[in-house]
């Protein structure tokens, strides 16, 4: 792996399934972040490239590339694929207007299903629906879902909420930003909160499959933790709507890769 760093440009892969944005649009921002973080870590100029992929399949493909050594992912992605990809968290993102942790909220139609036992035949729709492990065992850990509950990924939360209102057997799992905005919807009164998760990490930076030697990983981790005070760091963070990073604080039951 050390050879990789001597001979090739390592890549930090940003992957955010379900959220809007095309790779080309995000590229200047992820480039800026990679440059600032690498400089702060004392890595040589140009030694860390960045790539963004908004799709689950595309992100997984990029993460499988041997040049991909680091990744920036939502916590849901980590729960779903962390063990498979041997992801080792280095730092936890502090997201502007959200924080280092967030609660996920399950909403349904007022007067509809009220508890886990009544969800037989339902579909849970969420931006994190690509990560059923996360939905079942992290976000809805307190609920034992019936086996026939389906989990569906969507980037169109408003459409999903309309499906709830129309009487479909659908519930929507909202992230913190979405649940905070719920009262702004004209039909908010027709929805009800069924349950809420414990605080969970929002996003993580992780090493992929030990592809970064330990000393370099440690230097990068230290750089992330102090990035907001580093030259160009605040701008790079701000462009990604980040305030900084803290040490990973994973829930005790998060599977170890």
């Amino acid at each position: 792996m050390t050879t990789l760093f001597l001979n090739a440009v390592a890549t930090l892969v940003f992957c955010a399934p379900g959220y809007p944005g095309a790779a080309g649009d995000a590229q200047p921002y992820v480039d800026q972040f990679a440059k600032a973080a690498a400089t702060s870590a004392g890595w040589s100029a140009g030694s860390l490239a960045a790539a963004y992929d908004p799709t689950e399949a595309g992100g997984l493909q990029k993460l499988g590339n041997p040049d991909s050594v680091l990744t920036f992912i939502p916590y849901a992605f980590y729960v779903q694929y962390g063990a498979q990809l041997h992801l080792a968290p280095l730092a936890q993102a502090d997201v502007a207007d959200v924080g280092t942790q967030e609660r996920w909220t399950l909403v349904g139609k007022a007067g509809g299903a009220a508890d886990a036992a009544s969800l037989a035949g339902y579909t849970i729709v969420s931006v994190a629906g690509y990560a059923p492990e996360f939905v079942r065992h992290s976000a809805l850990q307190a609920w034992v879902l019936p086996a026939d509950v389906k989990i569906e990924a969507t980037g169109q939360i408003l459409s999903a909420l309309r499906r709830v209102l129309s009487g479909e057997k659908v519930l929507v799992l909202l992230d913190q930003t979405q649940s905070a905005a719920l009262p702004t919807l004209p039909f908010a009164a027709q929805l009800k909160t069924l349950t809420q998760s414990a605080p969970l990490p929002v996003a993580l930076v992780a090493v992929i499959d030990a592809r970064v030697p330990a000393p370099r990983a440690k230097a990068f981790q230290a750089a992330l933790l102090k990035l907001s005070a580093a030259a160009g760091g605040a701008d790079a963070l701000g462009a990604l709507h980040l305030k900084g990073f803290v040490m990973p604080q994973l829930p005790a039951d998060t599977g170890k890769p």
Partner: protein, 222 residues
């Protein structure tokens, strides 16, 4: 992600290909000092076309500023004219591309301007207000990160097609909206219809572009 999505995905990613939504002008008028509504609209459309042509960030910013100035002049001249309201919306789209951190706010104003243009003359630019509105709603990040709403976008695209069914861009907008709402069969039919409509038109750069978009859409759907 919210860094994921609230921030960079909702701003950087919101830089839409809005210029392509409006009809391209043939040339930019040289003297705008005593410009008419038509001159100012053509000037904004020319800026939009240039901005689509892969210019650098500084030039894009300048084009957006020029378009904004022309849009304001147009609105002063004829505040209720569909042309001024429509091209004001196009100018706002250029600003959203040039200033991604303000994109959400600009796109919301853009949608309001398109609604006003639609009320003034729904047929303007061959149902342009509904067509552009459809594309903004379909392409922009959705609630709560941005003004995107694929259901409303599909409704706007259907209105555009109802008003001007023979105009290929309206069929292309409908195809895109159907695709985003998961109706791949409907999308394929609309792309095919757009292709057939474009094929019988006289040769032009617009026709070539519409055919290309239809072919790309059909390829994606296959």
């Amino acid at each position: 992600m919210k860094l994921r999505a609230t921030g960079w995905m909702s701003t950087g990613a919101i830089m839409l290909l809005l210029g392509a939504c409006a009809a391209a002008p043939k040339s930019k008028p040289k003297n705008l000092a005593s410009a008419s509504v038509e001159d100012l609209a053509a000037a904004i459309a020319a800026d939009s076309e240039r901005s689509d042509g892969g210019v650098d960030a500084k030039t894009r910013e300048q084009l957006a500023a020029d378009a904004d100035g022309d849009a304001q002049a147009c609105l002063q001249l004829a505040p209720k004219a569909a042309a001024c309201l429509y091209y004001h919306a196009v100018a706002l789209g250029l600003q959203a591309r040039a200033h991604p951190l303000r994109a959400n706010e600009l796109l919301k104003t853009m949608l309001e301007s398109l609604t006003a243009a639609q009320a003034a003359d729904p047929d303007y630019d061959k149902a342009g207000p509904d067509r552009v509105k459809a594309l903004v709603l379909v392409r922009a990040p959705g609630w709560p990160l941005g003004p995107g709403d694929v259901d409303a976008g599909l409704a706007a695209a259907r209105r555009a097609v109802q008003l001007q069914p023979q105009h290929p861009p309206n069929q292309l907008a409908l195809a895109e909206a159907l695709s985003k709402t998961g109706d791949s069969n409907g999308a394929r039919e609309a792309y095919q219809h757009a292709r057939e409509l474009a094929q019988v038109l006289p040769a032009s750069a617009d026709r070539d572009d519409w055919l290309k978009q239809a072919d790309q859409g059909l390829g994606l759907q296959r």
